[in-house]
Homo-oligomer: 617 residues x 2
């Protein structure tokens, strides 16, 4: 027999469900968590090089190691993210273990935690031990269940079909899953703990799914993947074009996105070992075109004036109606939007951002293929959608790419030297949205881009990196990666559209940019943008950099809020009613405004900005 | 040019919709109605021999002709039924034109009219002429429809899928069919007049369907047919046995009945030239087994103690869920029952009979394979189901048959001579339920059956018609048609069960048979029973014959009431709550009671009955 050693243990609180585990002090944290059954990915097997074994310390974070400074950015480190393989169990701590899958999942993971005070998803499971029928109790099966639950219930026929055999096979013990008075499922014996839900954000480019335990409210897993519809075009206009041109185009696009979501959900379920048939609630956000395609509704009214969708107020249906491979009667809630271009993603983001709930003047921005913008002035909300084009998603940029390994995501100046941060610390092979923003901002700041957007050589030593001339000019960012004159034009189109939209909203609300109390930037890659770059490029009006805050994937977070608490559904509907939509394309002089907003700030404006932020920072 | 003649016209009011038509006086009534578009069947082409061109005069009935005395029974003639081909247009009259199809339809037709004061089926159609979208009106398609109707609506996905093309194909004019806040259908242009409904009575033996215009409340057509499930047994027990034994038995029985109903409905729709896709509401009654099979629910709990169905409170579903070939989202309401053996047919019949709505003591009887019995004492209702067996439906009788051509349906004494009335005035080839009752009653009255049920020869001249002895004895009713000793035993089993049930209910309610104010006899062939025979056989306790009333197909009538007015649905639920169900098989001495009730009234009792009814009549 092995001798027993006295081992000191530390109490680790696992969030968000506040479960306490005792881990042996001195043991490697990753290994200790694995031993307790936490399925934390560790492809490099604890070598500290893959960066995937992230946990977030809410409390008791150890000082970061050098390895972490390489693999995590400073914001993440400040937020408490650590690589569990690089630390030992020391003392009491409270941590969020992450469960990650796939390349894109890591990105989605950053936004994956959310605490709600009150878990009340509406969908609930009830374990019933019923008395069997007898001479003095001839109640019908359904009546027996209803009286066991103490309420009248609506039962779908397919569920009634299996009721008698479930009752008799389990000695009249069963779990009823219901949504208000509607039965969603019945299963033999006690499965009242097994009620799961998924929040889904259908992006034009990326799909993100978040799996939750609807009893505890705990997030169990995240999965993200590409939207496979993108083989039919990068933007909503080309997707709608496909529907219009191909007879079965609509069905095809629906099948593609639903199948991809089914795969992501199955992946999460496998990972945490739950049955997809125990998923009973789904909330879905996305732009209106994505939601129309998910539901199989014709989006043809969306791509031309007067831009009319089939639905805008959301829709509740059941999983089998859209082909989702979860419990067939699971409640699928497609959340409400405002117009053909301001969709549930934005409204859910507003919910998450608490927009319109304070006295402040708040500008809310979601930067993607469309720049959706909202301005809350106290209770009133103005919103519009600016056709930003796909520059921020890398699609129209010569070496543009998503924020995957090898993408330049941050460009900074170190004295006169340029420094590029690359995703995965790999060799640079392209540039993603945040890198594009930074590159343009830096080059404008040092004058290698003039206020009209033209690349030009100056006295600055980095001028030597400019090759070619005129429309063929390009700037060497890193070995083999260039920012071209055409890329800068594409960027100007995008930021010009967004800035013009912001100006129109300010005008409509009759407030000045100085009145803005906060700027909230949401959207899947919002949090990777560098605030000063937003000001230096003039994408935002010249405000204090301090006022800019990043929300992460606000759309996904909003979807989670509604998933976990039905009161948020009501809040969303209320919010929706307070939104005034402004159709930019109907504004008379919008083209002129747009063109003038493509200009960059002048040297004087840049100087003022610099001084102001130096003074304040 | 033909010269114009002055023709006198008579104003004929067409019931129940009170439409007035002017018909030329002196013209053949059938031909005049045909000319006004009434599709009245006339297979003999007006020769007065087919008996199918029936109309019922509510007012202004002409004296009956000899032909009518042959083809209609005296009750029908008294009720105002006439054959339209045998009469001329005379003066003002109010008539119900019938629309009949098929052999069984004629039977169903007798009960086919029903007037409701207030047509309010819940399902309604609304014609909307919407303004098309424009720069100042970017509302989504569904929102546009909702605001056009002035209410929020729940729209099934398949309907939303066709919404944009319907709107744009019809210049934004459409008809919305809805049930409360749920859209059942949308169709281009104005179809607000085309909303139809069907009341269905699923009998173990016979299916009856009644097609209604839900705008006017007018009955348009009737169709009846055999229940094709009967190849798997005449009674519910053998149908359940089939479900139990065959893996796909349940699906097979469901398919059979749904297909048969679809055929009947299609037949009616063709007849009156409406689209089955315009049928938006269906109410269904039947015994619990029939309703379980219709819904595809397992009836296995019904055939053994403690007799537990899957549902007893009815169910609302949509047509596509059960495979009905009408509007896919049509509301299909299976009406509520009380227990495994007292079903929606009985409860709907109680609704039609207004049971429990007065201070009276009312006995309600539905005689079929099961004798369902209800006793209302003021507000309180007691009910039970007596296993009567299939004698009344002819199934266990040696020459038993349905009330089709050739069936003896009435047996009377004319002095010492026996007289048999045969359906269709054809040669007798068998005996139906009412004929059986009469035959036994007559033979008991003249003593050829003793009080124990034994056939015996007496002084009576009809003794000569008895052939054979003991269990092989039989009585010659008509050429080639015999009533056997075994038939009499079968009859005794049926009437014994029913009478024992009646006695149990009286005892439970603590009332005496003398306290009964009225006996209401419902059921598909209830109205063909001869009241005195019910007393002479002892099926009913010895009350005054005056108290016995026939309701016709009370189940079907109840289904129609709910079809035409949703308030009746509520009434039905209220009624249902007041019903106390008594399971006869759980009553201790029920077998003894049953055996003693198989006895016929004694000679003295028959004499008293005779005197009483002679005195009163
Ligand atoms: S396991 Fe690879 S960095 Fe921790
Ligand atoms: S048409 Fe045949 S009886 Fe009138």
């Amino acid at each position: 027999m092995a001798s027993k050693k006295e081992v000191a243990t530390a109490k680790i609180t696992i969030l968000p469900e506040k479960k306490e585990v005792l881990l042996p002090v001195g043991e490697n944290l990753l290994r200790a968590l694995h031993e307790k059954g936490f399925d934390i990915p560790s492809p490099c097997n604890g070598a500290g090089t893959c960066g995937q074994c992230r946990v977030r310390f809410e409390q008791g974070a150890p000082p970061p190691t050098d390895g972490e400074r390489r693999l995590l950015n400073s914001q993440e480190i400040e937020d408490g993210w650590r690589l569990s393989c690089l630390h030992k169990v020391e003392g009491a701590a409270a941590i969020y273990p992450t469960v990650q899958t796939g390349e894109l999942d890591t990105k989605a993971q950053v936004d994956s935690f959310l605490e709600v005070e009150d878990v009340d998803p509406g969908v609930s499971a009830h374990f019933l031990e019923l008395s069997p029928p007898g001479r003095n109790d001839q109640r019908a099966d359904l009546l027996r269940v209803q009286e066991g639950l103490g309420q009248e219930l609506v039962a779908p026929l397919p569920i009634l079909k299996k009721l008698p055999s479930i009752l008799r096979g389990s000695g009249f013990s069963l779990t009823v899953v219901k949504d208000n008075d509607t039965i969603l499922d019945i299963v033999p014996n006690d499965h009242s703990h097994a009620v799961y839900g998924v929040a889904i954000d259908i992006g034009t480019t990326t799909l993100a799914c978040y799996l939750f335990d609807l009893v505890s409210g705990r997030q169990l897993a995240v999965a993200a993947g590409s939207n496979p519809q993108k083989t039919f075009g990068a933007d909503v206009i080309s997707r709608i074009g496909h529907v219009r041109k191909q007879k079965k185009g609509l069905e095809e696009l629906q099948r593609l996105v639903v199948n991809a979501l089914n795969e992501l959900i199955a992946r999460m379920a496998r990972k945490v070992k739950i049955a997809t048939s125990s998923i009973y609630k789904v909330t879905v956000v996305g732009n209106p075109t994505m939601l129309h395609l998910f539901l199989g509704l014709d989006p043809s009214g969306i791509d031309h004036s007067p831009y009319v969708p089939v639905i805008q107020d959301g829709l509740t249906t059941r999983a089998e109606e859209v082909g989702m491979a979860i419990a067939p009667f699971a409640k699928v809630e497609v959340l409400p939007g405002v117009s053909a271009y301001v969709g549930a993603d934005i409204v859910a983001g507003m919910l998450y951002a608490n927009l319109g709930m304070t006295d402040e003047v708040v500008l809310f921005l979601d930067v993607g293929t469309n720049g959706e913008i909202a301005l809350a002035v106290g209770n009133e909300i103005f919103t519009c959608s600016a056709a930003a084009g796909p520059a921020f998603e890398g699609a129209s940029i010569s070496q543009g790419m998503s924020a995957l390994d090898g993408a330049i995501y941050r460009v900074t100046l170190d004295g006169d030297e340029l420094s590029c941060a690359v995703v995965g610390e790999k060799e640079a092979r392209g540039i993603c949205g945040s890198g594009l923003l930074d590159a343009v901002a830096v080059l404008r700041k040092i004058g290698l881009i003039d206020k009209t957007g033209r690349l030009r050589k100056t006295e600055h030593p980095l001028s030597s990196r400019i090759e070619g001339e005129g429309t063929r000019a390009r700037f060497l960012l890193a070995d083999g990666v260039y920012l071209t004159q055409k890329d800068i034009r594409e960027f100007q189109l995008a930021k010009g559209a967004i800035r013009a939209g912001i100006d129109v909203l300010l005008e409509h609300a009759a407030v000045n940019f100085d009145d803005i109390d906060r700027v909230l930037v949401g959207g899947a890659f919002g949090s990777s943008l560098f605030p000063l770059s937003l000001l230096r490029t003039g994408l935002l009006p010249p405000i204090s950099v301090e006022k800019i805050h990043f929300l992460g994937n606000s759309a996904g977070q909003g979807a989670k809020l509604v998933l976990l608490n039905r009161k948020n559904e009501e809040k969303l509907q209320q919010l929706n009613k307070r939104i005034n939509y402004i159709e930019l394309s109907f504004i008379k002089d919008f083209s002129q405004r747009f063109v003038s907003c493509m200009q960059f700030p002048t040297d004087e404006q840049l100087l003022t900005l610099q001084q102001r932020n130096e003074r304040e920072g």
